[in-house]
């Protein structure tokens, strides 16, 4: 399996970059000719991961978020979102549907569940005080195959 294309995008943890990063991700993946649903699923998953870095990782502080993507010849896409924010103490708990540490700000606790259901693979690595890395993979079934 060959890497067809690769990119890395670094941006500040400002909430307006949630839209910027998912639109960029969609533009980058579009060279694999994904279906409309696949494109929206990738966009949604990126939006969830980046929003988490903004809301939880950096909370009200400003830091750098990195979005990396790789496109493969078997029509799969790998996406990594990394922050150097506060990290997650209990990853297993965090991934449970409806679990949130920000219920006072009325988050729903559905971000990881949405990433999991829209992508094929979701891996979360985190260390309290160091940051969080979310890795996702999806195999596309392009329009022309």
């Amino acid at each position: 399996m060959e890497i067809l294309n690769e990119m890395r995008l670094m941006f500040l943890s400002k909430s307006e970059n949630e839209g910027f990063s998912r639109v960029t991700a969609a533009a980058f993946v579009s060279s694999l000719d994904p279906t409309v649903s696949e494109l929206v699923e990738v966009k949604t998953a990126v939006s969830e991961a980046v929003s988490n870095a903004v809301i939880h990782g950096y909370d009200k502080t400003v830091g750098i978020i990195t979005l990396e993507m790789r496109l493969f010849s078997d029509y799969s896409v790998e996406i990594t979102v990394t922050d150097c924010g506060k990290g997650i103490a209990d990853i297993e708990k965090a991934r449970e549907p409806l679990f949130t540490t920000k219920s006072e700000e009325e988050r729903s606790g559905m971000g990881f569940t949405v990433m999991e259901s829209f992508m094929d693979t979701l891996e979360v690595e985190s260390e309290p005080g160091k940051g969080t890395r979310v890795f996702m993979k999806k195999r596309l079934h392009p329009n022309h195959t």
Binding site: G19, V40, T113
Partner: protein
């Protein structure tokens, strides 16, 4: 995101337009709170048909409307024909808080009732 309100009898239709993410929902949430705390409605309907994007922030947006009004007996409805939004609503057990409508006919019936 744009938020428009339409009122008929004691039903409030909340029309959402554009992109609903964490960033875009902040201002809309304030407008929603203001509207829902001014008057009691028998039904509120979140109409998602005008959205071009929604992530899990949509779930908390709807849950916010529910939490503000349910103590006063208001029933929450959500109308969408988008498969991915329906999937997200189901994953979040939104059927426990609201009635989910996914056909235009259901919406019309509700509106005329």
């Amino acid at each position: 995101m744009e938020i428009l309100f339409e009122e008929q009898n004691d039903t409030l239709m909340i029309l959402l337009r554009g992109e609903l993410d964490h960033h875009n929902s902040i201002a809309g949430r304030e407008r929603l709170t203001l509207r829902l705390t001014q008057k009691n409605y028998r039904k509120i309907v979140f109409n998602l048909e005008g959205l071009t994007f929604m992530d899990s922030s949509g779930i908390s947006f709807i849950a916010h409307g529910y939490k503000l009004t349910a103590p006063f007996g208001t029933v929450t409805y959500v109308y969408t024909t988008n498969e991915r939004y329906l999937k997200m609503l189901n994953l979040a057990n939104m059927r426990e808080l609201s009635t989910i409508l996914s056909h235009g006919k259901e919406l019309v019936r509700l509106w005329k009732f």
